[in-house]
Symmetry: C2
Amino acid sequence: MQVSPPQPNGLFEFSLLNTEEKSSARRGRLTTAHGVIETPVFMPVGTQATVKTLHPTEVAATGAQIILSNTYHLMLRPGVEVIEAAGGLHQFMGWHGPILTDSGGFQVFSLASQVKVTEEGASFRSHIDGSQHLLTPERAVQLQLGYGSDIMMQLDHVIGYPAPQKKYYDAMLRSGRWLQRCIDEHARLGAAERGSFLFGISQGGMDAETRKESARIVAEADVAGCAVGGLSVGEPKEMMLDMLEQTTPELPTYKPRYLMGVGSPEDLWNGVARGIDMFDCVLPTRIARNAAVFTPEGRVSIRNSRFRNHHAPIDPTCDCATCTTFTAAYVHHLFRAEEVLGLRLASVHNLRFLAKTMEVIRKSIEDSSFTAEMGRFMATYRPVVKQEAPV
Amino acid sequence: MQVSPPQPNGLFEFSLLNTEEKSSARRGRLTTAHGVIETPVFMPVGTQATVKTLHPTEVAATGAQIILSNTYHLMLRPGVEVIEAAGGLHQFMGWHGPILTDSGGFQVFSLASQVKVTEEGASFRSHIDGSQHLLTPERAVQLQLGYGSDIMMQLDHVIGYPAPQKKYYDAMLRSGRWLQRCIDEHARLGAAERGSFLFGISQGGMDAETRKESARIVAEADVAGCAVGGLSVGEPKEMMLDMLEQTTPELPTYKPRYLMGVGSPEDLWNGVARGIDMFDCVLPTRIARNAAVFTPEGRVSIRNSRFRNHHAPIDPTCDCATCTTFTAAYVHHLFRAEEVLGLRLASVHNLRFLAKTMEVIRKSIEDSSFTAEMGRFMATYRPVVKQEAPV
């Protein structure tokens, strides 16, 4: 058992409770101003200050301990000044647990138009109304502090996949310089005293040496946690896992490690096995809105006609609010009839599936059965071969 | 205080508790196999076995005592055999309070194509897949019994507005003949013993004598309740109220009276004042999905930019789950960002607004202040001039 150096104000603390010998799996506990998070943890995504289709109480009921929201979307709509006037994002959206916000880097590079990167930052036009914006490392920190995020992410320079490795390398170095500016701004604003802690992001494309160099930059920085970005963006799964394996050993043991944008059930196991503590992804809620639901055997489409007269839960082993109340036949009907309640019921089920997966993972690390449990999971769960890119 | 003749099996009973002297307002209590309904009552509409966007527990939390669902939609999708296999509509959709189903008449005439009416019934093509169907009075009863409806409606021949009065008259007489066939089928199937009770529907277009004749036909029939159909379909509001005034005096005092498809706040008062006990309408949930929310002063659009920084409830006097949890600014943001949660929060608020209106109405009849309260309501609430047709 290792415990992190105590933080100055006790608003952020990460403790390692257990590790597994056969893998790099870690069982930890993250304390934030808005609550305690048992790790490894999956974080549902509430892009526009709402986990799509769901009420905050429904999200909490799935077992979610922390949610993620998006700086890029929120700065454009409703704008940070509205959220500040509301008393912060927790108050605005009615989610009173911890919130992590990304810096907007990923979305600027994937959603905005006319993106231009200089050393100062990234200028772009809004995908909503074409308005002109400049996102700098300092601005990213200011915005996230305005939201009142428990965990804020550095601004990073994200390069789409695939690209020449030179591009990844230059962007990685720039991300490192931007990290220092984020750290300086975070300190200048006294963000930690207000309960907002900064994570750095390692990048580097699909090259092991670049990944390692980036990880070392982040590892040496004065940040509360370390993220791995730019993975699960369309590359083959083996490549992603290889990059991850090159990265995590370079990161400090006593800080939480966050694999950004990853959230398929198999990759939660894969990530934990490689030392990851935190995950986020739109996958469970996005595929839910496309009628795909997780089961212990893999994803199925609830629109499939075999569910028309299936008067039993989607997953009889599931304890979610959907499976304990409604039948697969009813959810099938709602999707066929294009009723919004169907999107909700599938979203609840998928979030609960991932939360339960993390519960199993945490318990298995505690009793040193992680590798065995992972084998059991992989033996029955049939993953989707094609990887979806997160947004 | 008047009490209805006791029903053979106690599964349906209507008691009049109070009446007001200055108006025809009545305070009653309707007992069904799935629960007791205090009247006057507004019934939210769950067209496709779901009150759009909402979970049954959310609907119940608004104060809804009974919901309505649609025979036409359910016969096409998922089909009565699926609902029967599920154990009935209550079980299928997870709503365990009373359910009223309409007969499908209104929807066949407003949604289906190639509608052909003969004395036998209405043949039509599905608006979903073009499949051919025949709805007869007997079939309408069979379907509704299959759903397990607490209250089923007769099949009626609905004529769109405006039309020559001769057409209304002929259709009214046919509806009368169809009513008798519904009664016979209802008796043949022993529906009452299974907790399903039949209401007749008076029609007649916009002619007082036809309305009266139709009301008398329904009044003399062996039905559990009497409905008024074919109003609020685009005619001027004064005409609707005049037709209603011609109709209700012809209906028996000791049976519940149901004004179909009416649900604007002002018309709930107007209808109760004219002796109506039950109302239904898609209005509160439909306008909610278009960002319109009820307030004591009238409808407002939550998309209006004045709500952008309005960090207070939509209606500070409202006790709904939306107003007690979220600000107008947040709901405004959700609509601007096209987030589903906005539709839900506005729907909850509007349903609660109507349920509260009915609570005020019931209380005011109890303490003989109905006419005074109605005056108070009308003095502050600014109705929308244009009437919307229900579907």
